[in-house]
Symmetry: C2
Subunit: 465 residues, 2 copies
């Protein structure tokens, strides 16, 4: 650090004079941001609220490093498919974590003695080198909740209940948790008659249904490739008919959907397993008393399709559907097998904290506060500053969040402006008059009223307010 | 992500079979570590406690990115003097932050409208590529508290009061906050008669006083260089005499030290300013009622010497002096000038969370808890599992942290062992007998007593306990 601070010390610190050219622009990297106090205070309250909910469901916290071996995160394979921060440190190929799920899988394999089911929550920053654009950041916070070591649909149900509870306790009531089973989707190729490798392409087209309408979807499924690079599906009329039947399943209530699913997929073993999963989750949700207006089976929910093996969940804010899912996840029974010999089932979900927070802000669901500080004790001059410090200590010892204005050179008026700017609700003034009488002036910045009080009266009043 | 998860999906997920050779070792990088739940729960409580103290003093939170431009962090200069994680991302030279102070300076310059004094706390991971060794990590957590925009010694006093309050509220009483002023040390070259550039070397030798004794120190100060590379100081007898006078100042009570300092440094303007700083801090601490057994002027406190411009602070745990200072800092009036045209004064201190936490653990000052979960509701079988889920929801709705055992295949006995392992204090059992009677069994795992209760009785009992 020597060189750096030597440079600093060579400045004339008394006057703060320095050649303009020497200064460094206080610039952030593109796609990164600061959280200033007014923002951070409310983000912290938001996160704490969710944390308390997770704990109420018996989850415990975990933390893992920001940097891991690229081989562990899987970013060392060619064509990883996501832009990440991968670099060499010493002689090691390392990557900044891009999610909290792969590190969880590593932890499960690394500490086989962890009691299972292992229910952990984890909050932390993750990094992805995506193109920076409005609302898309390269550093963002994820808040995950996962259950490892349970095949039971009780586990998947519990994840849905946590999503329900979180949204509800954050003051949202117009939301819909939509879920599906990957096993049902995995039965599509056999039922419709296409190569299972094409399932992603099929679902991408079906995803557009709401936007473009059924005719366009049919057209796109039927389209013949125009050249060898064209990946058009060229579905037969019979296949398209079956797709339409499948699409029509997903309307009506959950019991009807399940019935129709059984009718359509009848003998298919994979579909049967998926239907059983969905039925169990529905039964469990009803038993747990989760209102049916907040959840439904939706066969279009697929969640990427690479990663999940059973139930998958998404959460739509009905007043803000355009922002997409705010709390999503699913069962990933295969992931831990990357590191461990045992096949260990797992299910969970993740909040993109920044997106969710921004959505709640937009919906006006966040009661934000500008500061955690309750009182500013002003400082009249250097001598009376000691008096102010002394009384501030009394306030703090009573548990009141108290700031002393730490600049005795500023006029009282400027100190008041500071309190107003910071939205601190109360100001205590100890000037020569107050000092002479052994009292303090308490001013309520909202009502603009001020009263002369003894110290004890002031303490009691602030403690009570 | 495609390729990665395609690999996963090519496994046989039903059986979990996979060739041994394909597995990835779930290994961490050297110098990094996981925080498992038992650890994390208590670290979180520890951090929250400190956070509440900072807030009580009127500080507000800030967060900044983990990655910054190397030019901003100053790591792009040759011979930076600290091993950091510096790499190229796209076409940018970036570094993982190595502290929270340089980012604070950047923030102050980047947002000139932030009201000042700006009192912020910040907790976050920082990264240094030091040689991994026992107790030294490459990723660690710092918890900083700083006041920007105040030249007043009230600010430095407040930092010392925060240190005092933090230690005291964490249950430590045998500690000593030792402070000094860099201005006093900066007067040494003139007083003793040596090149100001050698002050670091001088202080390094003086630092050994306690260890090696006065004779060795004198010897080392006097030593002549043996060759051109030898940086021996070759002090004259007169200079050494003055050094000894200086060393003898720092004993006795604070008022005596200040008197002797004035006597020795008399006319030196820099020393005078430093003595005034120390005197003001002492006066303020007395007014604030901070017990004198917990603080003292110590002229050997230097804190590196590159970075600080006024008061500097260290905190020694008297029962564990070997671990060094757990809460240190000082005034850094020059740092923000790196980014801003205005000279903006600042002072603050930082906790190395991992070291401080480990020290408190060693002193037995941490009341640790193994879990935040209060009740495990066991699951008798798939059918009764629904009953368990239903009752768990009632417990949660009452605010009780409740886990349902999410594996209906396990025997009740195994579920009880799980609760014992996790140190969950209570277990609720809903078997066929309980279900028939419409009741539940509550077992206290500490007393080993169990009682049959109605649901309402059970809720009331757990809520009260």
């Amino acid at each position: 650090m020597n060189q750096f601070f030597d440079t600093l010390n060579s400045d004339n610190q008394e006057t703060g004079e320095k050649e303009m050219t020497e200064r460094v622009k206080p610039e952030l990297l593109g796609g990164f941001r600061d959280y200033l106090p007014a923002d951070m205070i409310n983000r912290q309250m938001f996160i704490e609220k969710i944390q308390k909910i997770y704990e109420r469901f018996g989850f415990v916290p975990l933390d893992t490093p920001a940097i891991e071996r690229s081989s562990v995160l899987g970013t060392d394979i060619p064509d990883f498919g996501m832009e990440v921060y991968r670099f060499t440190a010493g002689d090691q190929d390392v990557t900044l974590r891009f999610d909290l799920t792969v590190p969880l899988a590593r932890v499960i394999a690394a500490y086989p003695d962890l009691p299972k089911p292992f229910k952990r929550y984890q909050i932390g920053k993750v990094w992805r080198k995506e193109k920076p654009q409005a609302g898309r950041f390269r550093e963002f916070v994820q808040f995950d909740v996962d259950i490892v070591g349970s095949k039971s649909m009780l586990a998947d149900t519990e994840i849905i209940i946590i999503i329900y509870t979180t949204l509800t306790e954050l003051g949202v009531d117009k939301f819909l948790i939509r879920f599906n089973s990957r096993k049902v989707l995995n039965a599509l190729p056999e039922y419709v008659g296409f190569d299972p490798k094409r399932i992603k392409d099929v679902l991408r087209i079906l995803d557009k249904l709401e936007k473009v309408g059924l005719d366009k979807v049919k057209e796109e499924l039927k389209r013949q490739p125009e050249n060898v690079y064209d990946e058009a599906l060229a579905f037969s009329d019979e296949s398209i008919k079956k797709i339409i039947v499948f699409l029509q399943i997903s309307s009506g209530d959950n019991i009807e959907i399940l019935k129709r699913l059984s009718g359509v997929f009848g003998g298919n073993e994979t579909a049967k397993a998926g239907i059983k999963e969905l039925r169990e989750i529905c039964d469990n949700l009803i038993v747990a008393g989760i209102p049916q207006k907040n959840w439904e089976i939706d066969l279009s929910v697929a969640r990427g399709l690479d990663y999940y093996t059973g139930p998958v969940f998404e959460t739509t804010l009905l007043e803000l559907p355009s922002i997409g899912s705010v709390f999503s996840g699913g069962r990933f029974d295969g992931l831990i097998g990357k590191f461990a010999n045992d096949s260990i089932p797992a299910t969970g979900a993740s909040i993109g904290v920044d997106r969710f927070y921004a959505a709640l802000e937009q919906l006006g669901k966040l009661k934000t506060i500008p500061t955690t500080t309750k009182v500013l004790v002003t400082v009249f001059n250097e001598l009376l500053g000691k008096k102010s410090l002394e009384f501030a200590q009394k306030l703090r010892n009573t548990g009141i969040n108290t700031e002393v204005y730490l600049n005795e050179e500023k006029l009282l008026k400027e100190q008041m402006i500071y309190a107003v700017k910071q939205e601190i609700p109360f100001v205590v003034i100890i000037g020569p008059d107050e000092e002479k009488k052994g009292m303090v002036t308490l001013k309520d910045l909202q009502t603009r009223k001020q009263v002369l009080l003894t110290e004890e009266e002031c303490l009691a009043m602030l403690k009570g307010s």
